[in-house]
């Protein structure tokens, strides 16, 4: 079985401050990890992924995430948040020998000007 937990329903930050969205996962094998962003009434937009290799992954729009195997975490980060980053963020995991993505419940990020 595979699952994802996003412990924070909401994250609020001021523009220009660092942004962190937390994610922990559970899989039986090796994880493939993903972050997606969703704007109102839209589909999911891919941000970044971890498959193997360097634990620090860089993605779109200045986002990055760090894979930590011992803590089973894959937190999303951005050094300087923008108002336009305000959206709903989903972490997802797929076991290497599985096909389905399992998503967390999502974290709503609000960046105030």
């Amino acid at each position: 079985a595979q699952s994802v937990a996003q412990p924070e329903d909401q994250v609020n930050v001021a523009e220009g401050n660092p942004l962190t969205v937390k994610c922990t996962y559970s899989v039986s094998g090796n994880p493939y990890l993903f972050w997606y962003v969703q704007y109102p009434n839209r589909g999911l937009q891919f941000l970044l992924k971890y498959i193997t290799g360097d634990n620090l992954v860089k993605g779109s729009y200045g986002f990055e995430a760090e894979f930590n195997k011992s803590q089973t975490s894959f937190h999303l980060k951005k050094p300087s948040a923008l108002v336009s980053d305000s959206a709903l963020y989903f972490c997802a995991v797929r076991d290497y020998n599985d096909y389905k993505l399992s998503f967390g419940a999502g974290t709503t990020v609000t960046v105030r000007a």
Binding site: V4, Y32, F34, Y36, N41, R42, G43, L44, Q45, F46, K49, I51, F90, A92, D98, Y99, K100, L101, S102, F103, G104, A105, G106
Partner: protein, 111 residues
């Protein structure tokens, strides 16, 4: 590149009716997955199609069925609609083990 396209964008159906949703994958992608996203929740995996066969299925009843065509496009069919089927239905396409790209979704409302 048009990306993943879904139709229709919105749909209202009555309880007990049947509905068909359509998806065209991103160019070069051969795998299509369907997800249901209820309001305020993360997407839930319905099933995945590859080479015109259902390769994996999530925890959804048999009222949910699908099809993949030779051009890799796909349909999701839901029979005997329930109020609880109201949700955003997302189609995602991928190639081999690559990341999934999602369409804009179809908002289904069952009344």
């Amino acid at each position: 590149d048009a990306g993943v396209t879904q139709s229709p964008t919105h749909l209202i159906k009555t309880r007990g009716q049947q509905v068909t949703l359509r998806c065209s994958p991103k160019s070069g992608h051969d795998t299509v997955s369907w997800y249901q996203q209820a309001l305020g929740q993360g997407p839930q995996f319905i099933f995945q199609y590859y080479e015109e066969e259902e390769r994996q299925r999530g925890n959804f009843p048999d009222r949910f069925s699908g099809h993949q065509f030779p051009n890799y496009s796909s349909e999701l069919n839901v029979n005997a609609l329930l109020l609880g089927d109201s949700a955003l239905y997302l189609c995602a396409s991928s190639f081999y083990a690559g990341e999934a790209f999602f369409g804009q979704g179809t908002r289904l409302t069952v009344v």
